[in-house]
Amino acid sequence: MIAVLLILIPLLTGLAAFFFRNEKAVRSWALFSSLATLAVSLLGLTVFKDAKYLSHQCEWMQGLGSSFAVGLDGMGQVLCLLTAVAYPIIFLSTWNSSYKRAHNFFALMLLAQAGLMGVFLAMDALLFYFFWELALIPVYFLCSQWGGERRIQVTFKFFVYTFLGSVLMLIGILYVYSHTADQSFAISSFYKADLPYSSQNWLFWLFFVAFAIKMPIFPFHTWQPDTYEQSPTATTMVLSGIMVKMGVLGLLRWLLPVLPIASYSYGDTVSRLAIIGMIYASLIAIRQDDMKRLIAYSSIAHIGLMCLTIFSENKIGFQGVMIQMFNHGVNIIGLWIMVELIERQFGTRKLSELGGLAQKAPTMAIFFVIIALANIALPLTNAFVGEFLMFTGVFTSTVTKYNILFTVLAATCIIFAAVYTLNMVRKIFYGETVALTANAKDINLNEKLALGAIVILIFWMGVYPKPMLDLTNDISDSILKISDVHHLLKK
């Protein structure tokens, strides 16, 4: 029931939002809807923890072997919670941004939420594919309609990229389906599918390219900085905070356990791509002047680490990835809120045109510094927990012989992260005030609320990550068990 509600609430409220005519009303409606989703998600974590509440299955497309199966496992809980938490924060923080035809904007935002929830909840490959695409369509319209100057071409590139990836994945899904024992799209049948090594080899790339484009992993990342830059900030938050996690979830739920042998044999190749991407993106981020592009590249680096960890295939790493998915979402949304605040007030995102803001807007500076430190993964912040677990995972990996080299190379990216993040803080908040920032105002109440929520989450997860660790314990075990190559090879 919980799982169905998580999809239905945003879907129905989103459809209803199309018919609003008053901007204020639709804003409140969207906030109300997102709070309701959050409440349901929290109920699923606390009160209705029993499996019978968390999953739902009913007949759909009989004859095709597909059913409407949704369910919350530990990873699903984490990601649904992230989606549910992020939306109220996004709506709150952009409360003062005005949009033309606001009813369409909020309706599409909510529909995107429904699609994202569906991706995280689907336990049937065809249903997963449905939601995978459905999340994309509203985002396409959001970016193309309300974005920056070059929005049409840029968003279109993004769309074609991801569409190509997903149709290739569709072929992969169909091929696995045709090799399941009971001709079914159910995830359990997929895990048991009898796939010879030779076909796993090319199937791997069909799936991986789709996920890699979404995450994005070098060299499939070229759509990302442009799209983040040109999208309206609320949509960028959805894209970078939540949508990239679709790719990570795809790897963990639909690639590793379905194609364990190929994942093992291509693990090193993918890890190398991830590391190249991390270093490359970090170096580019250092040279950026536009805040949005800087954060976009920093996101590529962070996601690269998740990919690297996934292919080191051990429990501690999996748990780190799942926790970090949540933390990365929270942190990057915090950064985007800052970008939005600065851009709305000064009309620019260029680091070179800003300076000395801390004197004029101290509260903003405090929030920004905390979020920036979380982005570098300083101890006491949430990202430290996630990244520490991930590095441990990579270091102790038994599936690759390059584990130490990978760890060292990946760790250099933390140093790079410190360089570009602190540099950004310095240029915006410290030094002499410039003409633009001379009359700067501090932040409003609703922005304080949103940022406050983020800072609480940052410290909470940084100091007491145990609830998350408990939540992700079982699912990490089960993924590892299905995708354990040593076990499979012995058989």
Binding site: M61, Q62, F159, L164, V167, L174
Partner: protein, 456 residues
């Protein structure tokens, strides 16, 4: 059989109605009612109620597949009448005769869907083609329309010649026009039967505008009056596909491995030419002509696979493709400017129409939740379950990704570009469009609504 006889009668009725009735709206009313009756009696027949008992000497057989495909064609024609019949007034003075010709074409469609003898197939194809030559040239004072009609006629006559030749060779090999007798013979192929089969393959490929027999398509579709292009590019094409699949399933089913590779090559070529050329079009009407070629490429995958999924899928494809394309043509017909720029800013002026257009375009592009996605899905599934032809499905989906480019150009023009495209549309027209869009989504979520009829 019900629908066949009644549609012939209705054709004659419509012919006289243009003389006897002054009011164009009455003519239209009769046509729409007549078509609804046709649909009804056809559904009755699929439930086992036949109005006529005629001995056809086994030359036709109305099985579930035939009846369902006829129902789809009739329903699509009904939608076409509701959306575009009013616009046919603009084309010329012979309003009633257009309907008469369309009813005759429906006779042909029914023959093609149910033939058991190659003679009937030939008759059906000809009954479809000849009225189409006339409809293409219906805009008598327009040179482009005349040119299209002549081109279509000459090329069509040539392919008819090929078809007859093929049938004659097959007759020579087997001594019969009967499909069942031929199937036995094809199992041990000789020179005559292989040559006959190839000639039939080429001529049918011409009729469905598969590459490399597609050259007539863009010019004819572009030159013909838009309302008739809509009819010809959707219902007629889908119906010929049904005939195509019946021909190769019934007659040549036994030697599938011999002709399979031909379809792989034709499908790949059609997909490539249709999609790549569509990208470079400036006129939406011409883009839709190439899009019809590329969609035919996808439908050809069902001929390659020729299994249960393929047959279910082709019906779904026929419905999805026809509905969406008819909807787009109906909107296009109301615009003055057929270029992509002609759609600029339509969403501002007509939000409802633009939203319906988005559904149609997404369906053609194959985005989930629309019937178009499931149709493509069935095609891919059909090919993958044969266990071969993986390169073909990968090529097909890459081409589907290319198709996003030109379909989304229309969406971009409507929503994201400034302009003042206006449409004078009645409330009824808008609601019909919304109804069609809703149907496409409904089929995209519950394909069994359609496929169910194939088995129960």
């Amino acid at each position: 059989m019900n629908a066949l006889i009644l549609s012939a009668v209705l054709g004659v009725v419509m012919m006289f109605s243009s003389i006897l009735l002054k009011q164009k709206s009455t003519v239209r009313g009769i046509a729409i009612t007549g078509l609804a009756v046709l649909l009804l009696v056809n559904i009755l027949e699929s439930r086992g109620i036949s109005l006529f008992k005629i001995d056809v000497s086994g030359m036709m057989h109305f099985d579930r597949f035939a009846l369902l495909s006829i129902s789809i064609a009739l329903f699509a024609t009904l939608v076409f009448f509701i959306l575009s019949a009013k616009d046919m007034e603009k084309i010329g003075v012979d309003y009633g005769e257009y309907f008469a010709l369309i009813f005759f074409i429906i006779c042909g469609i029914i023959l093609v869907a149910s033939f058991k003898s190659l003679l009937i197939l030939f008759l059906g194809i000809e009954i479809i083609s000849i009225p189409l030559y006339i409809l293409t040239g219906a805009d008598k004072r327009n040179l482009k329309s005349n040119e299209a009609s002549l081109k279509y006629f000459l090329m069509g006559a040539f392919s008819t010649g090929l078809m007859l030749m093929g049938i004659a060779l097959l007759y020579g090999a087997s001594g019969s026009f009967d499909v069942e007798r031929m199937r036995v013979m094809v199992a041990t192929p000789g020179v005559l039967s292989v040559a006959g089969m190839l000639l039939l393959l080429f001529s049918m490929s011409f009729k469905v505008s598969a590459a490399p027999f597609h050259f007539w398509t863009p010019d004819v579709y572009d030159g013909a009056p838009t309302a008739f292009t809509s009819f010809m590019a959707t219902i007629v094409k889908a119906a010929v596909f049904i005939g195509f699949i019946r021909l190769f399933d019934d007659t040549f089913g036994a030697s599938q491995e011999k002709w399979q590779v031909w379809f792989a090559v034709i499908a790949a070529a059609t997909l490539f030419i249709g999609n790549i050329t569509a990208v470079f079009q400036q006129s939406v009407k011409r883009m839709l002509a190439y899009s019809s070629i590329s969609q035919a490429g996808f439908m050809l995958l069902s001929l390659y696979a020729m299994n249960v999924s393929a047959k279910e899928g082709i019906l779904l494809y026929a419905a999805a493709y026809s509905l969406a394309t008819i909807g787009i043509f109906a909107v296009l017909n109301k615009l003055n400017d057929y270029t992509f720029e002609g759609f600029n800013g339509l969403a501002r002026q007509q939000p409802v129409i633009a939203a319906a257009m988005v559904i149609f375009l997404l369906s053609l592009a194959g985005i989930p939740l629309t019937a178009g996605f499931l149709a493509k899905f069935f095609m891919l599934k059909a090919v993958i379950t044969t266990g071969s032809g993986l390169w073909l499905v990968i090529f097909a989906v890459v081409m589907a990704a290319v198709s996003v480019y030109y379909y989304f150009r229309v969406i971009q023009a409507m929503y994201f570009k400034e302009g003042n495209a206006t449409i004078a549309a009645s409330g009824g027209f808008k609601w019909s469009l919304v109804g069609v869009a809703a149907l496409i989504i409904l089929l995209g979520i519950f394909p069994n609504l359609l496929i169910y009829w194939l088995y129960f």
